[in-house]
């Protein structure tokens, strides 16, 4: 079997700027050139910008000794090597220090950790280690002990002495090849040609190259995969750049704050959701409790326990983990406790493609429980939107006493974009009021007395005198909450649970149709396809053809006006990164003959793919 052909993907990228930086002895120019060639072989447009130390022999490890090579790769004609790099490879502290300022916010830094020891830090003028002092918090950091990994990789190739570490640039190159799905072949061929006479050197370079690539693969390293299409101009305001996992975590903290309840996050690590756990575990001073459970079932079960105890409970995971949570989620539904279940979708089914984007868990979120078990579903459409989506999910959960599914995906989670920050002190008020007084005729507490408007039951937490009560997974008698086998009651409770969720349609914004020109064709999407659909719609309109766009935040219930909107267009296109999931819900609900544009190739849509389809339809 060939090494890498299987893994090569003709990645879609609007554009990416990568800068390799290291000591002048680190072979960064070579790494950069090889990466450029591999990309050229691949049909991308390229522009490069090498930068050498000004001094011929600046001392190793110092700032003046840093050498760098920047390459911009794009799908379209480009003229310059770009401005802010998206990725910085930093082989030593000096390289980091002299290049970090250029890196875009939330960019990726690939670090050769072993170079970050005291002597090198001092040479670069660092007083504390940037790897641990928190100064890299705003970036996505991939750490690798490149030196020892290189040593190990070349162990059996016959190189020795100074030659051993020579090939560590190949480690960096291999890792970048994994992150940006470049083929290894051109580089291997080049190495073989170059070192034909020194087979051991060739072998060492190839071994290290592969080691870097495999390191990415084995540790499930993900690139920033969101395709962010910047609007022509940003509206005025204060901005930061944010990735989706972070903003989602912050949204959870903010939403919990809005309810006045402490946040509890139960989770089991899983790509690409783990970073939410990591981020939340850093904010204990917000009263956030993170619980790393033994598995996803324990994670949701513990969260249900915390919810029963009056915490704003959240459990986060990705597809396989959501599958495991299904039974307990049904319990949360039956007990009508607020709970947020975050699902960061990845390529499926089964273990699938853990580091790839896909939107294929929508129907699972909708129907993934036994029995009639309706739950609200909220989806985040972009990295910054994940903040608002999390707050909205919490609003619904707390107000309606219901679990809510919050869908993100790999593109939202690991992608990043500029985010116009909400004003200070603008957090909404969702203050939760626990029950404090008995509500039963005999002075007892009846847990299934409902609010007449929201159908929500009351939340009485242990520790409150006089409200002692029991809940559970057997069917409950209305009002009293006692176990009931009564048929009429089962019908009533089933209907009530359905109504409760359906009724939320009246409490969410109607869909806003983006249709400046009175179009007859509507594109409707959800989740991380937002920027691509927007760009495609813009291009079609620029070509003088009217087309409307709707993007859904609420997947269940649908906004009240959705049916009307859909029926007011002649043609409806539903682009999704799955085999047609939203479209099934729309067709079943509204009987509209919508058309799907589907892609399940572990890649985001290209703007042109959607553009072409829209043009075809119009």
């Amino acid at each position: 079997m060939s090494t890498t052909i299987e893994d090569v993907e003709p990645e879609f990228l609007d554009k990416v700027i990568i800068r390799f930086a290291g000591d002048s002895g680190d072979g960064m120019q070579l790494a950069g050139n090889r990466f450029t060639d591999a990309s050229a072989a691949f049909g991308n447009d390229l522009a490069t910008f090498p930068s050498f130390p000004a001094e011929i022999r600046a001392p190793a490890g110092t700032l003046p000794g840093v050498s760098s090579f920047q390459v911009q790769i794009a799908d379209f004609d480009i003229l310059t090597a770009g401005d802010e790099p998206d990725v910085l490879v930093a082989m030593n502290p000096a390289a980091l220090k002299s290049n970090l300022a250029d890196l875009r916010p939330m960019g990726t830094i690939v670090i050769n950790t072993e170079a970050f020891e005291e002597r090198n830090l001092a040479k670069a003028g660092y007083e504390t280690n940037p790897l641990s002092d928190g100064s890299l918090n705003g970036y996505k950091v991939i750490e690798a002990p490149m030196e020892s990994l290189t040593k190990e990789a070349v162990k059996d190739t016959g190189v020795s002495g100074r030659d051993v570490l020579r090939s560590k640039n190949m480690f960096a190159l291999g890792l970048m090849a994994w992150l940006y799905s470049r083929p290894l072949e051109p580089t291997i061929e080049w190495i073989e040609a170059q070192f034909g006479k020194k087979p051991e050197v060739a072998a060492a370079n190839i071994a290290t190259l592969k080691a870097g690539y495999n390191f990415g693969l084995t540790t499930e390293a993900t690139k920033n995969s969101a395709v962010s299409v910047k609007p022509a101009s940003l509206p005025p305001g204060e901005y930061t750049t944010i990735s989706g996992n972070l903003s989602l975590a912050w949204g959870l903290i903010a939403g919990a704050k809005a309810t006045g309840l402490p946040l509890f996050y139960g989770s089991y690590p899983i790509t690409p959701a783990s970073d939410i756990l990591h981020e939340l575990s850093r904010h204990k001073n917000f009263g956030v409790r993170t619980f790393q459970a033994e598995d996803e079932i324990a994670a949701i079960s513990a969260s249900i326990g915390a919810a029963f105890g009056g915490h704003l409970a959240v459990t986060g995971t990705s597809g396989p983990g959501l599958a495991l949570k299904s039974e307990a989620l049904s319990l949360a539904m039956m007990t009508e406790l607020p709970l947020i279940v975050v699902n960061v979708q990845r390529g499926g089914p089964s273990t699938g493609l853990p580091t790839k984007p896909e939107q294929s868990d929508l129907l699972f979120a909708m129907y993934g429980r036994h029995g009639e078990s309706p739950l609200p579903i909220v989806a985040a459409s972009s990295p910054s939107d994940a903040y608002d989506a999390a707050i909205e999910a919490i609003r619904i959960a707390a107000k309606y006493m219901t679990p809510v599914l919050l869908l993100s995906d790999n593109s939202v989670a690991t992608g990043s974009e500029p985010w116009r920050l909400p004003e200070r002190d603008s957090l909404p008020d969702f203050t939760v009021r626990f029950a404090t007084k008995p509500n039963g005729p005999a002075g007892e507490f009846m847990p299934y007395v409902r609010d007449p408007l929201t159908f929500a039951r009351q939340w009485a937490v242990p520790g409150t005198p006089g409200l002692e009560h029991r809940i559970g997974g057997l069917e409950k008698e209305e009002v009293s909450g006692n176990v009931s086998y009564n048929p009429a009651n089962h019908q009533l409770m089933t209907d009530t649970r359905a109504w409760k969720v359906a009724n939320i349609a009246n409490d969410i914004a109607p869909v806003a149709v983006d249709d400046p020109d009175g179009a007859r064709t509507l594109v409707i999407g959800w989740g991380s396809t937002l920027p691509v659909i927007k760009a495609a719609v813009r291009r079609v309109r620029n070509a003088g053809m009217p087309v409307a766009h709707v993007h859904l935040r609420h997947l269940n219930p649908f906004p009240a006006n959705l049916g009307e909107v859909l029926r007011s267009y002649e043609r409806v296109l539903v682009p999704e990164l799955n085999n047609g999931q939203l479209i099934r819900l729309l067709r079943a609900e509204y009987l509209v003959d919508a058309v799907g544009l589907n892609k399940v190739s572990a890649l985001p849509f290209k703007v042109t793919e959607i553009e072409t389809k829209i043009r075809e339809m119009i």
């Binding site: 940003l234 930061t240 204990k284 307990a328 002692e468 809940i471």
Partner: protein
């Protein structure tokens, strides 16, 4: 906290108790209610969490807070509750199937973490609710609906399993022996951390007389080995039997046949000794240790650990401010 005077009845709920007449669960319920009334636990602070099974109907019959959750997950639900709310007294109740079959993983993890929850496992060595299949504590050879030719599953020894999972408190008692049950509940409650209590419980419908060696008039005195911390382990009608260490194993001998000093003095803080004692009986058909095999308060509890980290974070970083948090990566302004 003012002490409130409770009676047993204060812990009885308004729900009809629906176990089979004669089921050992009734006696245990009475013992728990009796213990609760005297424990000093304020009623609204007590929570009973269960899974699914006959035993797991328990919370309905307690007038405290409670949750009848799903099969096997009660220790995990309780872990979340106790971590979120260290002010509560959280109790877990379930059967041998609930806790050791489907719920085995949550049980062992709760024990190793030392979450401050008290776990009561009603071991009837059978699946009661689903009408009598063998359980992970049923003896080899048992014929049931799902094992018509006899079970070939070697059972767990619940005490050994709990100890192997680092339980800081592991004890065993008997449904019928209410006095002893109440004592054990008191000790479990007093213990700092998770406590695992196995209660032998007669299922008179699907597995009657499984514990007859410990409950039958003829045998019980010769088979009940009551452990007491600091006391030499002797038992029998006339305390004529003793336990010694022999070849690295706890062994039963005639007390008369050994020197008094050779008799094992029970040390409930000694993990290996606890394990050795758990091996004295695998199924309770002969002499069987009852009482506290292990109780060690030296390990910090999980919930205390969580609270301490929260307090420390607040002390060093101050109360979190969301407006600052979302600006913590640096901002810029578009005019």
């Amino acid at each position: 906290m003012t002490t409130i005077e409770y009676t047993r009845g204060d812990f009885q709920s308004d729900q009809e108790v629906r176990w089979c007449p004669g089921c050992g669960d009734y006696t245990i319920l009475a013992s728990v209610q009796k213990f609760m009334a005297a424990s000093g636990i304020v009623k609204e602070n007590a929570v009973f969490i269960s899974g699914i099974g006959c035993a797991a109907r328990f919370p309905y019959y307690m007038s405290t807070y409670g949750m009848h959750s799903i099969h096997g997950r009660a220790p995990a639900v309780a872990t979340g509750l106790a971590t979120a709310r260290p002010d509560l007294s959280v109790w877990v109740v379930g059967g041998d199937g609930d806790m050791m079959s489907i719920g085995g993983n949550h049980l062992i993890h709760a024990l190793r973490r030392n979450v401050n929850i008290k776990i009561l496992m009603f071991n009837n060595q059978i699946y009661g609710l689903t009408k009598g299949q063998y359980s992970p504590t049923s003896e080899v050879g048992k014929r049931t609906k799902s094992s018509p030719m006899g079970s070939i599953d070697y059972p767990f020894n619940p005490m050994s399993l709990a100890l192997g999972a680092e339980a800081t408190f592991a004890a065993r008692t008997l449904d019928m022996d209410t006095k002893h049950t109440v004592e054990i509940l008191e000790a479990a409650y007093a213990h700092k951390g998770s406590a695992f209590v196995e209660i032998y419980q007669n299922c008179n419908v699907f597995n009657d007389k499984a514990f007859i060696a410990l409950t039958g008039k003829e045998d019980r005195d010769s088979n009940r080995i009551y452990l007491e911390h600091g006391k030499p382990i002797r038992f029998g009608q006339d305390m004529e039997k003793a336990v010694i260490f022999h070849n690295g194993e706890a062994t039963i001998v005639d007390a008369a046949s050994v020197d008094e000093t050779a008799i094992l003095v029970h040390d409930q803080t000694n993990m290996t000794m606890a394990f050795a004692l758990s091996r004295l009986s695998h199924s309770p058909t002969g002499p069987t240790p009852l009482g506290i095999l292990r109780s060690d308060d030296s390990r910090p509890t999980y919930d205390d650990g969580v609270s301490a980290q929260l307090a420390r974070a607040k002390a060093t970083k101050g109360d979190g401010n969301i407006d600052d948090l979302i600006r913590s990566l640096g901002t810029w302004t578009v005019k």
